[in-house]
């Protein structure tokens, strides 16, 4: 009993030690921890603190210049904080004093620098106090949001990474002919080719990505005839210039090739192309995608047309497809004039 209790307590202790608090910015606790990490050696402490302040000021100046090149007015507005009224030595002293009060521990260092400069710049104490309270509020609420949203943030970061355009030349390629212009948001797909790229094959203009899948199912037209009717096939989903996607809406072109069996003596090949449009990222629970489609193809050598509904589940992997198919001609094949195809497919 005691050993079990010891294990539980030990496990809880390990869990507690392993926990790390989400921290967005370096704040008072990091600032004060520098002294402990440097074994209270004043010269080392000073160097590390000075390096951090240099980083903050360099970062601010660098991104200010970058912003100014694009939107001078917005840059002036965003970077209007006073940060350079104090020397590094004075600033470190002011920050040491500021963070000696434990209630300022959650204030980010960059805000503390602004506060120190506000005081030196003659800003009245009530205004400085209000700034401190506002900073404390947003820093704490951000920390709380991150504690509760870590998973979403990680997902958003992954999404940002995956959708990152490799073509960054528009943003950074500021040669001598660079013209200032309105900011354009990044494109959604990484697959899009550079307009200036040479040596790309002609078909890349039409083919911008593809997916492969397998489908199988049953065909129904009357209960007695369709007892042994089945179908299976491979499908390719091809992204073309017509492939279009917004946050919710999506269009696709899908090609399917496979076999079909209506009865033991009525089997053959079927091929068809479908244009699908509908919800790309559905908010409906379980359903990832829901699209209407129209298609045209060949079934056992006869032209066929179809319209249907595609529902995708399981992270856009599992397709449930219901189609109403009409065959244009049945001469010599005894093909039913129309039937309902119900199939299930898996996308790789």
């Amino acid at each position: 009993m005691v050993s079990r209790l010891l294990i539980v307590v030990g496990f809880a202790f390990v869990m507690l030690c392993g926990q790390r608090q989400n921290r967005v910015f370096w704040d008072g606790s990091d600032w004060n921890r520098i002294a402990i990490q440097m074994n209270q050696e004043s010269e080392s402490i000073y160097r590390v603190k000075a390096a951090h302040i240099n980083g903050l000021l360099d970062g601010r100046f660098y991104f200010y210049l970058k912003a100014w090149e694009v939107e001078p007015v917005l840059a002036e507005g965003a970077y209007d904080d006073p940060l350079d009224l104090l020397l590094h030595k004075e600033l470190i002293k002011a920050l040491d004093k500021f963070y000696s009060d434990p209630k300022h521990n959650t204030i980010p260092v960059i805000s503390a620098i602004i506060i120190a400069n506000m005081r030196v710049g003659g800003i009245s104490e009530p205004v400085v106090y209000r700034y401190i309270e506002e900073t404390r509020f947003w820093a704490n609420s951000m920390k709380a949001d991150i504690d509760s949203m870590s998973v979403e943030i990680l997902a958003a970061k992954l999404d940002k990474h995956l959708s990152k355009p490799f073509d960054i030349s528009e943003k950074y390629g500021r040669g001598p002919d660079y013209e200032r212009k309105r900011v354009v948001l990044k494109p959604k797909y990484v697959e899009s080719e550079d307009k200036g790229d040479k040596g790309t094959a002609w078909y890349t203009a039409f083919l911008q990505g593809w997916k492969f899948g397998l489908t199988g199912g049953t065909n129904r037209w009357s209960s007695s005839d369709s007892a042994v009717s089945s179908g299976s096939g491979y499908n390719f989903v091809i992204k073309t210039p017509l492939h279009f996607a917004t946050e919710n809406f999506e269009t696709r072109v899908r090609l399917e090739i496979g076999g079909i069996k209506f009865s033991t003596d009525l089997t053959g090949r079927q091929t068809a192309a479908y244009v699908q449009l509908g919800l790309g990222d559905s908010t409906i629970p379980i359903i990832n995608r829901m699209m209407l489609e129209i298609g045209m193809g060949s079934t056992l050598g006869n032209t066929s047309f179809s319209s249907g509904l595609l529902i995708t589940l399981r992270k856009k992997r599992l397709d449930l497809i219901t189609r109403y198919v009409s065959a244009s001609s049945t001469v010599g094949t005894n093909l039913p004039p129309n039937w309902i195809s119900i199939s299930m497919g898996f996308n790789f």
């Binding site: 967005v24 910015f25 370096w26 520098i34 990490q37 440097m38 080392s44 160097r47 590390v48 603190k49 390096a51 951090h52 302040i53 240099n54 980083g55 903050l56 000021l57 360099d58 970062g59 601010r60 100046f61 660098y62 991104f63 200010y64 210049l65 970058k66 912003a67 694009v70 939107e71 917005l74 507005g77 965003a78 970077y79 980010p108 260092v109 960059i110 805000s111 970061k157 940002k160 990474h161 990152k164 490799f166 073509d167 960054i168 030349s169 943003k171 950074y172 390629g173 500021r174 040669g175 900011v183 354009v184 948001l185 990044k186």
Partner: protein, 147 residues
Amino acid sequence: MKSLTFILLISIMCLPAQDMDRLFWNGSDWRRLEKFADYDLELTYMMKIAYINGVLDSRLFYYLKAWTMEQAFADSLYAETVDYLTPRELVKVLDNFYADPINGYIPLPSAIIISNMFGERIPMNKIDDYIRHSKDWINRMILEKKQ
């Protein structure tokens, strides 16, 4: 003797002037940290981490501020990835990057972006383009400052 004194005087006058030309910490500052830290590896590492955290904190702070003013502007301006590598990895990549003297005058904030581009395995020609534009940009900035 007179000419030697003259040369020495000129050298002494030029040294502080060279320092003034620098807008940001760059490769020479990065490499010099080891010397400043008396070749104490722990202290060198701490100073490098402190600097990197400073740049990233500053970027995030002003991104959030710009975001409250104009979301599209902020999202576009701060679109590049700077947090793909952990600070420890970033220090290693920056050490390698600045080991090449030709990269010495690239500002550290640019080098942080470049290091993350290496980490993300962005095509080399794009990274080379970015390095070239960073060099052009910092040279232009220094010239404009001088003028």
